[in-house]
């Protein structure tokens, strides 16, 4: 009995040693950054002479029409990108599932985007879809339009079309690879059974395949939503300056020469962090796939 207790104690000690360095880094840098940001957002910033806690920064941003517009725009970008990516990714995975000649090379090209940085994709989208971009030139060549100004605004536009195209381009393979792995490991037997029992293609997909892939789709979507909600460089490159996506607005306030804007920048950072925290909780509830397997 005594022996077992010390063994347990030794094991606990060794677990602590294994975890300590990683947790120290995360506590110092990640939690440290968040807590400092939180204090600053509550107007506590002794370095620039702010010493008393208050909620002025939050009141200021939530009564500012520009901030609300940014918030709405950011939700629009994240929601639309995630939804379109999910639908197209599932379609792509179904397309790539069966055995066909050249499957390996097609799969390789499909997963190629996984490693291409968002920034490169964003610049590519810019050169494709700006007024004088490649798509506009091709349309001029086909006599569909006659000058750059005829081309519909797809970058720096109010609907953030270019930003959404970039995210969809990047996230289709991300969600698709996850869905494809599930499809390949499950096999087609369940669907064959459903079909032989009289289900049509759509019914077999809706009632057999979809429930099987849903956990993967949902957990990938949470990651995609959180990323598209908080990413900075893509809206910074492809978006309008007003209203800007929330992370861009936070950055602009942070680098503002007026130091009084700092607590507001921090408050915006906290809003972004808060919404992501809700997403983490959803993620933990919906799936533990990545931790356990």
């Amino acid at each position: 009995m005594k022996m077992r207790l010390t063994e347990k104690g030794a094991q606990r000690l060794s677990i602590s040693f294994l975890l300590a360095p990683a947790l120290a880094v995360i506590i110092l840098l990640f939690l440290g950054g968040l807590i400092t940001g939180l204090l600053r957002s509550l107007n506590y910033f002794p370095l620039i002479g702010l010493n008393d806690f208050n909620f002025e920064a939050y009141v200021a941003i939530f009564t500012d029409n520009g901030f609300i517009q940014s918030l709405v725009l950011t939700f629009h970008i994240a929601f639309t990108s995630t939804l379109i990516s999910c639908i197209l990714a599932v379609a792509a995975a179904l397309l790539l599932r069966p055995a066909f000649r050249g499957k390996r090379i097609v799969h390789f090209f499909f997963s190629l985007n996984l490693t291409i940085p968002h920034l490169v994709g964003a610049i590519g989208v810019l050169y494709l879809f700006q007024n004088s971009g490649l798509v506009s030139r091709i349309m001029t060549g086909l006599d569909l339009i006659s000058k750059p100004a005829d081309f519909p605004a797809m970058v720096f536009d109010p609907w953030a079309i270019g930003i959404i195209i970039q995210y969809v381009w990047k996230e289709i393979p991300f969600i698709g690879v996850i869905v494809l792995a599930i499809l390949l490991s499950v096999g087609e037997d369940y669907e064959s059974v459903a079909r032989s029992l009289g289900a049509n293609r759509w019914q077999a997909f809706r009632q057999v395949t979809l429930p099987l892939i849903m956990p993967g789709v949902v957990s990938a979507s949470v990651i995609v939503f959180a990323f598209t909600f908080g990413a900075f460089e893509i809206p910074y490159l492809l978006g309008r300056t007003f209203p800007a996506a929330l992370p861009v607005l936070a950055y602009q306030s942070y680098t503002d020469v007026d130091l009084a804007a700092r607590p507001q920048a921090m408050a915006m950072a906290m809003v972004i962090a808060f919404i992501s925290t809700l997403l983490i909780m959803a993620y933990m509830k919906l799936s533990r796939v990545y931790i356990r397997e």
Binding site: I15, L95, V106, P117, V120, I123, Y127, L134, A181, V289
Partner: protein, 282 residues
């Protein structure tokens, strides 16, 4: 009741139509995925490419010469980006492998909290964290140099590496170690000859992707690097609006390591592996 004949894919005209449809779909998909790379590559070899020309009227190697010429600092920047990514990878492996072992092999009190702390930095956007870290880094002299930039890159990379290793260890049978120990192997020999070979592929794939996550960081480097640390993404962003030819050439340089990594690791990269889960960060 009529029974349908068994499907014979090669002779059934409906299924031939379906196969054609599939290939149209696949072609469309791949075309969409490759499309943004096309103008980047054309710009990189163009000299004059004015609207409404679909292809440049003159080609040149000017952009590529500028990329490799020492005056433009691209080589220095590439070296700096590599150095930071290497440093970040080494630290992530050193800290992430043990933590992954603890999470993958053991159940302990508070494990749930530890898991949340590991997951949180992957989901909370870097910008929300870095605005708070910034002044702390300035105070300790970590702003504007590669040490500080490397440290801040650990925020997205270390949790990723830990998660990958936790997945690897969850599939690892610790009894092999006990057997080796009972046969007289020491701690060190057990780790060297039993554990390491078993987890090594996972470590390599995790390390490769950790390298890529650091390699492609923009906003963390922008704020902590403070204009002093000019990694490739910073340089690329600066050229994107003004110098499409150079931005095109830089983009090609910038995506090469990723393609290389994918070639090296594609056989380990099935979607159910944790390695994919963190790629949302690249």
């Amino acid at each position: 009741m009529t029974t349908a004949p068994a499907p014979m894919p090669h002779f059934n005209p409906r299924s031939v139509g379906r196969v054609t449809l599939r290939w149209v779909g696949i072609a469309g998909l791949l075309a969409f995925l490759v499309a943004p790379m096309v103008p980047l590559f054309i710009w990189s070899i163009s000299f004059r490419w004015f609207y409404p020309d679909i292809l440049p009227s003159e080609y040149s190697s000017r952009a590529w010469e500028q990329v490799i010429s020492p005056t433009n600092n691209v080589l220095g920047s590439t070296w700096q980006t590599t150095l930071i990514a290497l440093l970040v990878t080494v630290l992530s492996v050193l800290f992430g492998v043990p933590a992954g072992r603890a999470l993958g092999l053991h159940n302990f009190r508070g494990k749930r909290i530890v898991e949340i702390m590991i997951l949180a930095p992957i989901i909370v956007p870097g910008l929300a964290v870095v605005l708070g870290i910034d002044t702390m880094f300035i105070r300790y002299g970590l702003s504007g140099n590669i040490i500080g930039v490397s440290l801040v890159h650990l925020v997205p990379t270390l949790p990723y590496m830990t998660l990958v290793m936790s997945g690897v260890y969850a599939n690892y049978d610790v009894d092999y170690e006990l057997q080796a120990r009972s046969l007289g192997a020491g701690r060190w020999a057990t780790q060297r000859y039993v554990t390491l070979p078993a987890v090594f592929p996972g470590v390599v794939v995790g390390a490769l992707f950790t390298f890529l996550i650091s390699w492609s960081q923009y906003v963390l480097t922008l704020l902590i690097g403070d204009g002093q640390v000019q990694t490739l993404p910073i340089l690329l962003f600066n050229f994107a609006r003004s110098e499409p030819a150079i931005a095109g050439a830089l983009s090609v340089v910038f995506i090469l390591p990723g393609i290389l990594v994918l070639l090296l690791s594609s056989k380990y990269l099935s979607g159910d592996s944790a390695a994919v889960g963190g790629i949302g960060n690249i």
